[in-house]
């Protein structure tokens, strides 16, 4: 008898190919276009040309960062959806990025140096998570309450963001808005997002069988021998740390965490041993493509990538909803 995962492996191979293709595309196009053959040579050999520097100092770091951040966002979304057993759960909807945004905008308003932004974002995201946790977790774990508390917290952060924006001097507004919309133009050190992605992926793969059981509900998972409380806390912390890391690197980029897991569920069902690596590959590819579009569509101007993920994400999500998967699963 064939293992049910056996016929899903080709999909992972396909996603791997898509990831490679989107990374290649992102290296080829931009202010100067570089042909595939030249790109291949330049990847390995420094010929002292400007093209070499464009690839190695600008495009490659940025694309790898985009892939790392996209993968992290998709993974965080997938974990939150498993935790809350709700296809709408996503760290952004739960107000985590709102908390980060308030902290960063506050730092900008106070005129703190640029280097403070990432730590402030991380701290803001964690503070929002702790607040959500303490507000929603008094006594027992109730996913509806957690989701509702998160949505209300997000609304509160959004009001605070408007408040800070209205206080800010006009010179600072463009920078603030770019950060709010999510932007990868400063993310030129891919080591951090890729390291976060790698460790998150390993942990999530290790958890995957238990995540499958968690989908059956708390009582059923416990009856089948899962330490469900411990698992819930662990998923929650992992998803939160991943989100905090992504927000501190690239600002508030929405929809990747919602869209990537959904497209995959549509294609393969709900086994996390496929969903985890698949979401990472798909989320990474989507953000690489979106970022490539963001820096080329109206060149030489650059769009914040969060605008594009939302512009594409909204119709895509509505399409998936119409196909009935999201609605049926909730």
């Amino acid at each position: 008898m064939r293992h049910p995962l056996g016929n899903k492996l080709p999909l992972l191979a396909l996603l791997l190919a898509i990831a490679a293709a989107s990374l290649t595309l992102s290296l080829m196009i931009g202010s100067v276009d570089i042909a595939p053959l030249e790109l291949w040579k330049l990847l390995w050999r420094d010929d002292g040309s400007t093209h070499y520097r464009i690839i190695h100092e600008l495009r490659l770091p940025r694309s790898l960062s985009a892939f790392g951040v996209g993968g992290v966002l998709a993974l965080a979304g997938l974990l939150m959806q498993a935790l809350l057993r709700n296809p709408l759960a996503d760290p952004y909807i739960l107000g985590v990025s709102g908390g980060a945004a308030v902290a960063v905008l506050g730092a900008m308003l106070l005129g703190l140096p640029f280097a403070w932004q990432a730590p402030m974002a991380f701290g803001g995201a964690l503070a929002s998570i702790l607040l959500l946790f303490s507000l929603a977790h008094s006594g027992n774990w109730n996913t509806t309450r957690l989701l509702l508390t998160g949505v209300v917290l997000a609304a509160g952060w959004s009001a605070l963001i408007s408040f800070v924006l209205s206080l800010s001097p006009p010179v600072q507004l463009p920078g603030m808005l770019f950060w709010l919309m999510g932007d990868l133009s400063d993310a030129l050190n891919p080591a951090l997002p890729l390291a976060v992605l790698g460790s998150g992926l390993l942990l999530a793969l290790w958890l995957a069988p238990a995540l499958n059981l968690a989908l059956l509900g708390t009582a059923r998972a416990a009856a089948l021998g899962v330490r469900i409380r411990r698992l819930h806390v662990f998923i929650y912390l992992l998803a939160s740390l991943l989100t905090a890391a992504a927000v501190s690197i690239a600002g508030a980029i929405g929809f990747i965490g919602l869209i990537a897991p959904h497209m995959l569920r549509l294609m393969t069902g709900s086994d996390h041993r496929i969903l985890v690596p698949g979401s990472v590959l798909l989320g990474g590819s989507l953000l690489v493509l979106a970022d490539t579009a963001a820096r080329t569509l109206i060149a030489p101007m650059q769009l914040p990538v969060g605008v594009l993920t939302a512009l594409f994400g909204v119709p895509l999500f509505l399409f998936l909803l119409n196909r009935g998967t999201v609605g049926r699963q909730s």
Binding site: R85, L213, L215, G217, G225, R265, S270, Q329
Partner: protein
């Protein structure tokens, strides 16, 4: 002699203002089939979950074999007892086969990867419950009765020593009720394991169980063999409703007036 599959000593439990039981002493031996009966809201489901170790009792002890329930790891508990839930399954449903296969979880190794033997047992459980051919269907497209049989298949795949069943006949047509209860009985009590089921239908309980536990919802209980416990007096006491026992051709059944 092997120890009882399940023992309770001086078990007391209440939910809100309802006293489910106080000082309940039970010994469920290998091969036995117990029925739990009681009026709505008496706490039968809660009692079953306590026996499964999913929630604590107020006081008293529960033993699986010779070991205290809290001393067993969640996985050891899942190998010893399985639970058929009354409420439906929510969340993101996968295919029927994947869901039945989830029942094998306590048997899997560290990596959580199913062996061919696990796949075979899951398939056998699907065949036994009449679900052959529905393997690739999405759970959300099943009818209520098919879903109930899928949950029974999941429990068969889990293959615990003790089956705790919360209204196993729910959603099933009359013929399927008999078929599924026969199947469960063959798998659990007839093979030297044991089963405990919460039932609404006293007549089904009389037909399939050899022992009964009546919980009244005020802390009082009566327990023992079916012949000793299923009397007109006891059933009238239990439901506070007039009943008469009709007997014909070696079978007996309660008629609620």
């Amino acid at each position: 002699m092997s120890p009882p599959v399940l023992t309770t000593r001086k078990l007391s439990l209440h939910i809100g203002r309802t006293k489910v039981c106080s000082n309940l002493n039970l010994e469920i031996q290998p091969g036995e089939c117990w029925g739990i009966l009681g009026p709505n809201g008496a706490g039968k489901t809660t009692l079953l979950h306590v026996l499964a170790g999913l929630r604590p009792a107020d006081s008293g002890e529960i033993l699986y074999g010779r070991r205290q329930l809290p001393d067993l790891s969640p996985r050891e508990q899942a190998l010893w007892r399985g639970l058929l839930f009354q409420d439906g399954l929510g969340g993101f449903p996968g295919t029927v086969f994947e869901t039945v296969l989830a029942g094998r979880h306590p048997h899997l190794g560290r990596l959580g990867w199913e062996t061919p033997e696990d796949l075979r047992l899951a398939q056998a459980a699907m065949d036994a419950t009449g679900l052959k051919g529905l393997e690739q269907r999405n759970v959300s497209t099943l009818s209520g009765g098919e879903r109930q049989r899928m949950e029974i298949a999941m429990l068969l795949a889990q293959a615990p020593r003790l089956a705790l069943l919360d209204e196993p006949s729910n959603h099933l047509d009359p013929d399927q009720q008999i078929l599924m209860l026969r199947l469960l009985k063959k798998h659990f009590s007839d093979s030297g394991r044991a089963m405990v089921m919460v039932l609404h239908d006293i007549n089904l309980a009389m037909r399939f169980c050899d022992n009964l536990l009546l919980v009244r919802g005020n802390g009082q209980h009566r327990s023992g063999s079916v012949t000793g416990v299923a009397t007109e007096d006891n059933i009238r006491w239990l439901y506070q409703h007039p009943v008469s026992l009709l007997q014909a051709e070696g079978t007996a059944c309660f008629h609620f007036l």
